[in-house]
Symmetry: C2
Subunit: 594 residues, 2 copies
């Protein structure tokens, strides 16, 4: 999809590079046919119909050709043409002719109705003229010859339709200067190096299987420990903050979602129905709210003095994401939310929002996401906001006031609130500077009313409680994917699946190694002995690749001293430490989640 | 269903009581029609077609009539009759005539093919003659007039078919003497008092909702804590015993169950399919084994030195139990197994079985199930056992040897093993003497082969691992139901949802009460303050009804001494204890799971 706005300087650079690339390709393949070539995020591509498949060597030659065209410093020249002139100009370019036919009928280059003007325009640089709306840089000399790189070749169907001919797409990245390109390539390499799908395999954390189904991960013993520790941490904090935990399973009668409104609004994202009979249809739970609200009702009459009630649950939800959208752990069909629903009175919104805010901040700090921003989505002028103004004013005021009270910076986004009520989203930045929407607190006036929730007020009359929907890290699966990349697999001690590996120098230390292992395990540490026949350097290397925080090397000297020689995965050597002291140090590190 | 064997003395007593009851009913309702009246577990029933609905007063009159018939001391007289004689005898009894027609055609009294003799027989006592195969006691005087009781009236369709007329069924219980009857009635009352469905409501632990679906429980904050502690306990022990935990979700492609064989054998018990397309059908997971085995395969090549691998998981499984069979938590459709699959070499079966045995014994002891027996199901002569004799001999020998080694008493049951391999079931007796099958260890030769599992042996050749299926308490839901009844809701401290309630004597102690609450909560104890306006005795009474282990009463004296006056739910009064000492005592009790 083309990047907008078009007055973005990178748009001009990348769009111009696409044209320059097309010229260079046609210089190599004069009989080549050109399709389309838009700028995209971080770069550009162009689709070609060429007489043979491209090779990496071709990319080098094309890059050289591009540099020659840039060196010529020729201008990009705009002109408008009639459909007939355009057809004459592109008489040897069948894809362009198809586009011209479309443009003449008011369709854009994707074959979709184009609501702008119907003027046909071209841009020409040097010997190459392309059907194009622009804009471009003024001259090829404004492009930095060291600030672009062709990054790959892929197949692409003409107009994205697999019934059309397959074309060759060349991807490139383009920037204002070499420093920017280098930074981007470094980030790209870093992202590749940290890719949680790759690391997940290398560290043996999770698998996907054709036998289970797409988007449905299986966690190995090592992966499960991380999930478990993540959930344990949030549960511990939630308990400390006065939250309760409930359990509502994974299956619900479809009729509940008809009552709650999710059937109409969300059906497309649910797994297919389980039809027992015409009157009895079950669904996998795609969200917890209707279940938690049902539990609230089943628990009987609630007094205003019983509120707030805070129902947290680590339930695995199922959402039928499009198979094309699935991506490792960050986009799955089985998602375990660290979800909570807070049932409260309107006058409790501020305090409850503040409590949730603090909990979220404590969690993000522990995970070393220091850099996050808060988007506060508010009601806009639109008529879609159905609850009364008074309720909205109260809730929006409460959210602002709590954010101010705790000194949290936020950006107001009027008109971006859902119809239910205002919400705050926490968008955290990982070490690569990528943004992840993690935590959410959403005020809900609508669902509690829809499902008939009540509490008896001080006035002895029934009232509808407000519900705050709250997630801390979002879902365990996605956040684990993010964490793997954030830490590049080198988890802090409390999350590391194996916290220490014992490496005996010779067979004579086997018994002592086993004794040390037992002492560490009894203290609650996750420890293994490397019993392979590799040499010590090989064992250390493997432990480093497995990102195991501590290597405990054991020789005769250590055995005699009831000690272990401690090496950290960073390479740092802590020397010999008595076993008891190491246990104390490690436990302290685990407990503090440092 | 009739109790067998028929030579059980209770069978004779209960069968005879049914006939005596029928006579007494016909004396009250001479125009009444009789259907069938078999002995059942603990008693008997008889179905009648009567001119009006029975009342509890009728039962008293019928009991009196029965005692009169018993006092007459008349004999039970057997005779054989031809179908025509029988028809003449029962000419006013349409249900009996239908039975006679059936008997004449070789059908039994349930209308099913009867493979025994086709002789029609009757038993007569006093004025009452019934179509009957016996046996009975010899004379009514052998029945103890103080050892039976009519326990209830229910509707029942003739032959269990709702298209047939509805009859009135009278239930009774019958025993050899009054002491036995009293014991039975006490147990019955005790079971009613302990009924987990009643206690679950009173203690606010769980609910079922029409909006969610039958057999799908919702756990309140209090109920969830118990589940959580139960699972945490088993997880802790499993970790100590060297088990790993995995996570495999709740949804699986149906095709996996076709490969594993469960589709053919188990389809009827699965929730209905989720049909995405003809080629892509999902199922809710009714068992973990195929998922764990798939994970084993996905993890790559396993060496004989990597085994055993022990995959434990607390996954909620879904089984579509018949709605009539559902019963509180003890028979649900959502069941969270404390399941484990141990992948091992044949020579490891004994050690792994022994390990599992010890773990199970430690768990049962903690839950105060001191009284359990082990049934060892072995291969029989039947041809259904498809794995080779050598494997069976090895496995059966390993199981026996481990049981002997740990001094576990067991009963061998030849021919009761499933086709997969031998197994050991642990059947525990609760405080009421009822038996519950909890733990299981099943050896499996078949599924690993079917799903193509392998390990590379010392001989460098691929081998199929043996899998042990192991459950400790069975499922969390069912075991929680059992535990509620076993403890009559008075959970040991480590499981109690609220471990202590603080009861301030006057408003002046509010602040100190809150301070004590905070100190206990920070120590990890689950504690509440009773802030109601009730008088102290009312608060104590409520805490006792809620089975809260400790009541901490706080007055001016306690505040001054930084102490709490401790009362236990049993009524025992521990006097004033310094807060720090109470915390230490309680934590010690929790940690030891005493």
């Amino acid at each position: 999809m083309p990047v907008t706005p078009q007055d973005d300087p990178y748009y001009r650079i990348r769009h111009s590079l696409a044209h320059v690339m097309a010229q260079a390709v046609l210089e190599l393949f004069p009989e080549g046919k050109i399709a389309i070539g838009p700028p995209i995020e971080n770069g550009f591509y162009y689709d070609f119909d060429l007489p043979r498949p491209l090779t990496p060597d071709d990319l080098t030659a094309i890059e050289a050709g591009m540099r020659r065209i840039i060196a010529k410093d020729v201008p990009f020249i705009y002109r408008e043409v009639s459909p007939d002139e355009a057809r004459a100009l592109f008489r040897d370019q069948p894809y362009k002719l198809e586009l011209i036919d479309g443009l003449a009928q008011g369709l854009d280059e994707y074959g979709e109705t184009h609501h702008g003007d119907t003027v046909i325009s071209t841009y020409r640089q040097d010997t190459f003229e392309d059907l194009c709306r622009g804009p471009h840089v003024e001259r090829t000399g404004q492009l930095d010859p060291e600030a672009f790189k062709l990054t790959g070749i892929a197949g692409a169907y003409w107009r994205g339709n697999e019934k059309n001919p397959q074309l060759q797409r060349i991807y490139g990245t383009g920037w204002a200067n070499k420093a920017e390109l280098d930074h981007y390539l470094f980030q790209l390499e870093e992202a590749r190096r940290r890719d949680h799908r790759r690391l997940g395999k290398e560290l043996g954390l999770f698998h996907f299987s054709d036998d289970i189904g797409p988007g449905l991960p299986l966690f190995t013993p090592r992966g499960e420990i991380i999930r478990h520790e993540m959930e344990r941490f949030v549960r511990e904090l939630q308990t400390k903050y006065g939250y309760s935990h409930v359990w509502t399973g994974n299956v619900v009668k479809e009729s509940l979602y008809k009552k709650s409104g999710h059937y109409d609004a969300y059906r497309e994202n649910m797994f297919p129905p389980m039809v027992e009979s015409e009157d009895l249809v079950f669904r996998l739970k795609p969200m917890n709210c209707p279940s938690h609200m049902t539990l609230y009702k089943e628990m009987g009459i609630h007094s205003y003095r019983d509120l707030p009630l805070r129902f947290a649950e680590f339930a695995t939800l199922y959402r039928y994401e499009d198979s094309g959208a699935l991506h490792g752990l960050t986009r799955v069909r089985a998602l375990t939310q660290d979800d909570c629903h807070i049932f409260c009175r309107p006058d409790q919104i501020e305090a409850e929002f503040g409590l949730a805010l603090n909990l979220i901040r404590e969690v993000l700090a522990t995970y070393k996401f220091g850099d996050y921003r808060v988007d506060l989505s508010l009601r806009g002028a639109s008529g879609k906001y159905i609850a009364d103004d008074e309720a909205w004013d109260l809730a929006e005021g409460a959210l602002r006031s709590a954010l101010d009270h705790y000194g949290v910076q936020y950006r107001e986004a009027p008109g971006e609130a859902a119809i239910y009520g205002p919400k705050a989203d926490f968008i955290a930045r990982d070490v690569l500077g990528r943004e992840w929407q993690l935590s959410t607190i959403q005020v809900d006036f609508i669902q509690p009313r829809r499902l008939g929730l009540e509490y008896i007020g001080e006035d002895n009359q029934p009232h509808t409680p407000v519900v705050l929907h709250r997630a801390v890290t979002g879902t365990t699966e996605r956040f684990l994917g993010v964490l793997i990349e954030h830490f590049a697999g080198a988890f802090p001690l409390w999350l590391a699946p194996v916290q220490a590996v014992i490496i005996p120098i010779t067979d004579k230390q086997q018994e002592y190694a086993e004794q040390v292992r037992r002492r560490l395990a009894e203290a609650g540490l996750r420890v293994e002995i490397d019993t392979s026949r590799d040499r010590m350097q090989g064992k250390i290397r493997r432990a480093q690749l497995q990102k195991i925080p501590y290597m405990l090397i054991i020789g005769a000297k250590e055995q005699e001293a009831d000690a272990v020689a401690v090496r950290m995965r960073s390479g740092e050597d802590l020397g010999a430490i008595p076993v008891a002291a190491f246990v104390e140090r490690a436990l302290q590190e685990v407990r503090s989640r440092a």
